[in-house]
Subunit: 377 residues, 2 copies
């Protein structure tokens, strides 16, 4: 049942929250946002911005108790408060039990294994010393169980000497995958159990910053591989029984296998282009899912790419943008700024979406624009 002024709360006021807010205007919802940073991307644009920690029980509880629906744009939230609110009748989506599984990469990975979802081989480790005994498992990645984010919390362990860089905390050793491509599929599921996937995308990671540098949609893969990626993503969402979005990042191995890398229970960097290239955007789809509306059609009307705008190396301070004119004068190109005042090296300051009727001209635009903008201080 469609009700304007539904009271929706969002834990986290970053760029994902910013795009959710932007899209939520269509539906005339009453939205408030919780974030500890007075300069967060949502701070100036949220109809109601509450300054406080989404990791603190009392703060989250007080924030949520008068809401109809509570959702998140970051996983590192206080789960006890979410469970309490849920027990008192607030619709909390994604469900706290699912966020709990995903928050801990060890539990997440075990979940894949238990549900026969394809994923790379792994070993749980308790601390750095514990990890050292698995030298014959290398090359591998050591991942921190909890608290990793945006490229932090992952170390490549190629040789036994690299174990010095391993985390001295509960983590997991994940077999390095010889992959051809990194793919992602964003799935939505609403309370009625409807499931819809967005077209598969292909991500290219920044070699130093370990985060998505740019992305193409749809991925250039065979129909068979695409179908498998879509199937794995849908099955994962159903295995969780999630309500809301689930972003499923996958490896396509050189042997043609699809292996889940990790998942995020929220809008994701790999879906920003849907704002420009698809009938429904990931943000609107998330709102439709958590509000239990019919899910939108995810059809793409254009080829699309997305480039993250990262703070330039060597600059820290109040952000200035060089080269935006070049972007703005290219057909089908849109910058989206996150409203962050201060830049630092590799900080995500915004992104650019590019749409085109032709894949080849899209790729040329990406090449031309990849280094067009520099964010300096």
């Amino acid at each position: 049942m469609f009700t304007p002024h539904t009271r929706l709360g969002i834990l986290g006021g970053g760029q994902l929250g910013r795009m959710l807010l932007q899209v939520a205007i269509d539906f005339d919802l009453s939205i408030k946002v919780l974030d500890p940073d007075p300069d967060a991307p949502c701070a100036r644009i949220a109809p109601e911005f509450v300054l406080g920690s989404f990791q603190d029980f009392d703060t989250v509880y007080a924030f949520g108790k008068d809401l109809d629906v509570l959702t998140i744009e970051i996983e590192a939230v206080n789960l006890e408060a979410l469970k309490q609110l849920q027990s008192e009748g607030v619709r909390v989506f994604p469900q706290p039990e699912i966020v709990e599984i995903i928050q801990d990469k060890r539990v997440q990975k075990q979940f894949f294994r238990d549900h026969h979802l394809p994923t790379s081989d792994f070993i749980l480790t308790e601390n750095r010393e514990d990890a050292r005994q698995y030298a014959d498992f290398l090359p591998a990645f050591h991942k921190l169980g909890k608290g990793g984010y945006d490229g932090r919390g992952v170390q490549r362990i190629a040789t036994p000497a690299d174990f010095d860089k391993a985390f001295d905390a509960p983590g997991l050793l994940e077999k390095a995958v010889d992959f051809e491509k990194e793919l992602a599929v964003i799935v939505a599921r609403n309370q009625r159990g409807d499931v819809k996937t967005f077209p598969t995308v292909e991500m290219v990671f920044h070699p130093e910053a370990n985060m998505v540098e740019y992305l193409f949609a749809p991925a250039s893969v065979s129909e068979e591989i695409n179908a498998r990626a879509q199937f794995v993503a849908s099955r994962t969402a159903e295995a969780f029984g999630i309500v809301g979005l689930l972003a499923v990042e996958m490896f396509l191995t050189k042997d043609g296998e699809i292996l889940i890398n990790e998942v995020a229970p929220r809008p994701h960097n790999s879906g920003h282009h849907t704002l420009r290239a698809n009938d429904v955007s990931q943000f609107e789809q998330h709102l439709r899912a958590v509000l239990n509306y019919p899910l939108g059609d995810t059809h793409a009307h254009s080829y699309a790419a997305m480039i993250n705008l990262l703070g330039a190396e060597g600059y820290e301070g109040e952000a200035r943008y060089e080269g935006m004119e070049t972007l703005l004068e290219t057909p089908g190109v849109h910058p989206f700024l996150y409203g962050k005042t201060m830049t630092k090296p590799f900080r995500k300051m915004g992104h650019v979406t590019i749409v085109d009727k032709e894949l080849e001209s899209l790729k040329r635009k990406v090449e031309n624009l990849k280094n067009a903008v520099r964010i300096i201080a």
Copy 2:
């Protein structure tokens, strides 16, 4: 030069301002909005909402004096204040001199004639008695010079007896046009003089409410007529020398003539579908124009339609929406609500955009959805 946090003010906080605000988030502007209604569509979503009259000199002057750029989403604003602000260095776009011409339909019409822009024949009238002498000019429309809006300020005068309905104030008698279709083209022009038009659209008016009921884009007209409509619109924007958007409403007569009906120096109801069907939306284009950025590509990737959601007859009070599920489950369909709490008959409460790859299936969707939603109290 692209500068985030450019201080942009908008006079008027209605639905057009609401969509401008929504789109402006992309560019990270610092926006404030002036409107006398505490329940205006922008009230809850504007980063800064100033309650006050955009018709009052002191209020507009105080609102504008610290801005970089000041724009409007309604024409009925205090021009003296805009001129004062302009003389003090605020970039006011559209320029107050142009708004002044357009505010008065008499002056606007005379402007078309003086600039050899095609428009229907007309006679200026001073009052009702004055109008009565032009019985041989009927059938015609009597239009109020100043203050008409959204279907108000226009009377059809078919016979001399109808002159009783004529306005007893300065107005004009406009020869009724035997038209085939009503078309509209939205043009943008920036300070550098770049001009870009959106594809021509076709409007279907509500017979009773005298406002756009729905719209198709692009218009189903010959290439030659389309080219003429596009040319007339561009020439009109250039004749004004406007910076910002100009919406040009035109009649296509049964003889194949294009005649300008009227123009609006701002985003317009006939361009809402551009949010969903075009590479750049009219709202982003307006921002690009007034900020003197490169204009965006107006290419349409899909056929589109727009249906206004009007308050149902016989209902006045707090709005409730029936039938939204039907909209939400149709592929390519998006409701956009204006955030108005109270409905009354024919009040514009929102709109729906529909996109499709095929014109025929688009038209079927419009037929199915035209009466799907009822806004009652």
